[in-house]
Symmetry: C2
Subunit: 154 residues, 2 copies
């Protein structure tokens, strides 16, 4: 577990801490590939057209943030290599990235249209990201209220 | 409607475009206050302890991004003043910020605990942000698949 330091408001603001992980464009491009099943350094590099040192740096940052874990594998006749797998925390970034994407597609649309659509694995139905209650039912945005706790800065 | 330019990957990646709006820590601190009902320049300044020129700059950036709209009001005996109200697009950032917050609270927790909890306005029930289908039912993260469209960069 990482406690982010040196981020403005990061001591108390969890939004600041999450944005700090995601604000580098390469970070979420790497994550997008990881969600798509990419694990190997060479595959990330080939898909992202990114310099090795930059990729290495970003992968390490995501490992430090607890989003990816570095593992070793060895194919017959080859030297040992590293691969990067999503942790549970990393996988939980799916709806976070989908929420960012959904807003961008709705309010800052690209001329070419959305590049990714989220669908149900089995039914193919289009999905959205929204507030839900404990019973798993969607709650209208206007009914969601952010309540400050005692930890909220004075 | 704004089409973001000059953002790496921003032409095609809606995540990059949304993060570009949110990556400045002041941007989401301003938004947090706006969700809490703050509209006046002086109230934002008093709550955020922020220099006037920095605040003015961030408010203008959020107006340009289509998240806030600048309006004028005049109280009896005072000079006209400006206030800033959330647009529909701005209000739709609620679940986006809640998703970022939820992840940060779960995976990069602060010692003091969460500063904001999202609750149902009427029932007080704790809410989460998650994938939902067209019927408004929660969909497990493992069942949500990001499918690339024809617009996805080769």
């Amino acid at each position: 577990m990482v406690v982010a330091r040196g981020i403005r408001g990061g001591e108390t603001c969890s939004i600041a801490r999450t944005v700090d992980v995601l604000k580098d464009p390469w970070a979420f491009l790497v994550l997008r590939e990881a969600f798509g099943g990419v694990t190997r350094f060479s595959d990330f590099r080939a898909r992202l057209h990114i310099a090795s040192d930059v990729l290495s740096d970003r992968l390490s940052a995501l490992v430090t943030a607890g989003v990816l874990v570095r593992e070793h594998y060895r194919e017959a006749g080859s030297r040992p290599r590293e691969e990067y797998r999503l942790t549970e925390a990393g996988d939980e970034l799916r709806p976070v990235l989908a929420a960012l994407q959904q807003w961008g597609d709705a309010h800052l649309p690209a001329e070419c249209g959305p590049t990714v659509l989220w669908r149900h694995r089995e039914t193919g139905e289009l999905l959205e990201v929204a507030f839900v209650d404990a019973d798993g039912r969607r709650v209208a945005r206007a009914d969601a209220v952010g309540e400050r706790t005692a930890a909220y800065p004075a």
